[in-house]
């Protein structure tokens, strides 16, 4: 039961890193990919149908932590303290940028919210780098230069991951720009590599956490684990439906 609980948590962590990593990365590289206002709108259309469904993987992680690892949830989140606050602020800025940019037809409005998307995405990536580096070092509180360097490297992985995703979703000049920065091996290979890198990071971070010692009481797991296992195929199926509907390259702007 405990191993299944840990496996479920890992599944959602990796899902978040790989999926949300791509929309965060596209947000980070938005000024590079979309030079003009209309072009940026098309770049955003590459992630538009997915980002809402991607970020809920993290919400699910927090839910699973609260339900299956309550002690760890409290210690981890309050131990990370300011990093969690910064993460949330970046998340809010990025999301409000995405939702708001198309709501008012004024150039300055869109420039402002595009700025929020880029700044929010960088904040998210750097904070994830910071948090992952802290967990890997086994010390979530201590700021060190090594940790800062590590955070930047992880953020760069997010950015390259986003570029590869953009290259897979876009056409024309924006795609060419995404491909150039992705390297010569082709965007599919790059996406595979960055995915593997993010997955390895997630697994290593998980191995550093005292998961087995903080797992919830048997009575709780006896209810939660089967319930989550039953619902899991529906969750993955729902997401797969979204990926299937939007499997083709972007043709034009979306609602955002």
């Amino acid at each position: 039961m405990e191993m299944i609980a840990i496996g479920l948590l890992g599944f959602f962590v990796l899902g978040y890193l790989l999926l949300a990593g791509s929309d965060i990365g596209v947000g980070m590289t938005l000024p590079v990919l979309g030079r003009a206002d209309a072009e940026r709108r098309v770049v955003i259309a590459a992630i538009a149908p997915f980002f809402l469904g991607n970020e809920v993987w993290l919400v699910a992680v927090v839910g699973l932590l609260a339900g299956m690892f309550p002690d760890l949830e409290g210690d981890l989140l309050s131990g990370l303290g300011p990093a969690v606050v910064v993460l949330l602020l970046g998340w809010i800025a990025r999301d409000m940028g995405l939702w708001s940019r198309g709501r008012v037809d004024r150039r300055s409005w869109r420039v402002f919210w595009d700025g929020a998307i880029v700044a929010g995405s960088w904040t998210l990536a750097l904070t994830w780098g910071w948090i992952l580096a802290g967990v890997l070092a086994g010390d979530v509180a201590g700021p060190t230069p090594v940790r800062a360097v590590f955070a930047v490297v992880i953020a760069a992985v997010f950015a390259v991951h986003g570029l590869a995703f953009a290259a897979l979703r876009l056409r024309g000049p924006a795609r060419e720009r995404a491909r150039t920065l992705s390297g010569p091996s082709g965007e599919g290979a790059t996406f595979g590599l960055t995915s593997a890198a993010l997955a390895v990071l997630g697994v290593l971070a998980g191995l550093r956490l005292p998961l087995a010692d903080t797992v919830a009481d048997a009575g709780t797991l006896a209810f939660l684990v089967p319930a989550v296992l039953i619902i899991l195929p529906f969750l993955v199926g729902a997401q797969a439906w979204v990926w299937w509907i939007f499997r083709h390259r972007v043709e034009g702007p979306s609602y955002l």
Binding site: A36, P70, E73, V85, L88, L89, W91, A238, G252, P253
Partner: protein, 427 residues
């Protein structure tokens, strides 16, 4: 555990501000999703363009409010672990599972399918598209249910055993069927429908007063709003009243006593708690609890008058189109359900003080051991951001509502002039 008094006060204020704000977003989202789903069902069945336009217009307002509501919800979700780790340590085994179920069974599906509903417009089969909004609505209900299971446990803990320093889940069924959760859940559902129906009636009245071109759509919308508001108000008050009768709850006893203004009863509840838990002040601020309950019910009474009158007026077509005084009344009534909802929230949540988990864990023992500096950073940051979000949301809502169905981007077919500009155009 004894934490810094300032940390505690700041953590309480932060929770009250963020949860209260989030609750106001939820109130509109939950009700409006239902009304949009009903309008879209009618549009899908009849293929009537008026209803299709109505779906897109009300759907757009719903999406704006949902998007801002969702980010306030993210803060809620992480805040519990961040600021209230004492609660997760103590009650996580019971309380945490409801939160876990909420994220997976409800929110995960809701967000995934809402994305598909928004971005899959004109791409999906219309029946599949209709199914999506119903799944979104039902999972929103499920989300509210699981949150009320968590909250109901804090108000009226059941199905647990105290094992050393923390609680252990012993009876899932009792937790899921907690009468405190179930009644509050339906009470809130009713309140959400009241909120959305007054919103729909008020916005429609604005356009009818101005003689909008799409008057047919707004006449219909006004009738839906008014027609839903009356039964929703009665349903809500019934479920509210039933909550007074849940037996064997000290916080409920206190809430009734404070609301009844009976000093003797209040003193008796306090004496009883001192006898059981040792010396201390176990009473929430009575004036605030009483005042909130009074305001909630006063707002309800005013809404009831407006709704009753409106149900009579709406059967006359000329009145619906022309009676400007009534249009003004409906517009001015839009904030009333929000006032009632937030008062009810204050009544319920302040009435539980000083307990985080009623009679098991005090709020001061639930707060994380954070420095006041960290808490000041966090409350300042979230205070500013939430204020900005509230202003942004209601400004965008009012703007979109005033513009009417013409400027709706949701579900609009992509116009040729919106194609990507050539790469040469840079700035």
């Amino acid at each position: 555990m004894s934490v810094n008094g300032e940390t505690l006060e700041l953590a309480r204020w932060q929770f009250a501000l963020t949860a209260g704000t989030h609750f106001l977003f939820v109130a509109l989202t939950l009700g409006l999703a239902t009304l949009v789903a009903c309008v879209q069902t009618w549009a899908t069945l009849t293929r009537n363009p008026v209803h299709a336009r109505m779906t897109r217009f009300w759907g757009q307002l719903y999406v704006i409010n949902y998007a801002v509501g969702i980010v306030t919800g993210l803060v809620m979700e992480l805040q519990i672990g961040l600021n209230w780790s004492g609660l997760t340590h103590f009650a996580g085994n019971v309380f945490g599972s409801a939160l876990a179920m909420e994220t997976l069974v409800a929110f995960f599906i809701e967000s995934t399918f809402l994305g598909l509903w928004i971005f899959g417009w004109n791409r999906l089969n219309r029946w599949a598209h209709l199914t999506l909004i119903w799944i979104v609505t039902l999972t929103a209900y499920a989300s509210a249910y699981w949150i009320m299971v968590s909250n109901g446990f804090l108000q009226n803990p059941v199905g647990y055993r105290l094992d050393g320093k923390s609680l252990v889940l012993t009876d899932v069924g009792a937790v899921l069927a907690n009468p405190n959760s179930i009644l509050a859940f339906f009470h809130i559902l009713g309140g959400a429908l009241v909120t959305a129906s007054f919103f729909m009636a008020g916005v429609s009245a604005y356009h009818l007063r101005r003689g909008h071109a799409d008057s047919e759509g707004f006449r219909r919308s006004l009738r839906i709003g008014v027609g839903v508001s009356l039964p929703a108000l009665m349903f809500t008050v019934t479920l509210g009243g039933m909550q007074f009768d849940i037996p064997g709850q000290s916080e409920q006893a206190f809430k009734s006593a404070a609301f009844g203004g009976s000093a003797e009863e209040v003193a008796r509840v306090q004496a009883d708690l001192v006898a059981r838990f040792g010396p201390g002040d176990y009473l929430p601020p009575a004036a605030l609890v009483d005042g909130a309950a009074t305001l909630m019910m006063a707002a309800w009474a005013v809404m009831m008058l407006i709704s009753g009158l409106s149900v009579l007026l709406m059967s006359f077509r000329r009145v619906v189109s022309r009676l400007r005084v009534w249009h003004w009344l409906l517009m001015l009534a839009i904030p009333l359900p929000f006032v009632s909802m937030i008062s009810g929230w204050v009544y319920r949540e302040v009435g539980r003080q000083p307990w985080a988990v009623n009679e098991l864990l005090l709020v001061r023992d639930a707060v994380s051991d954070l420095s006041p500096g960290t808490m000041r950073l966090s409350i300042t940051a979230f205070g500013v951001v939430f204020a900005a979000l509230v202003v942004l949301n209601y400004w965008l809502l009012a703007r979109q509502a005033r513009r009417g169905p013409e400027g709706v981007a949701l579900g609009a077919p992509t116009a040729p002039d919106e194609r990507p500009a050539p790469a040469a155009v840079t700035f």
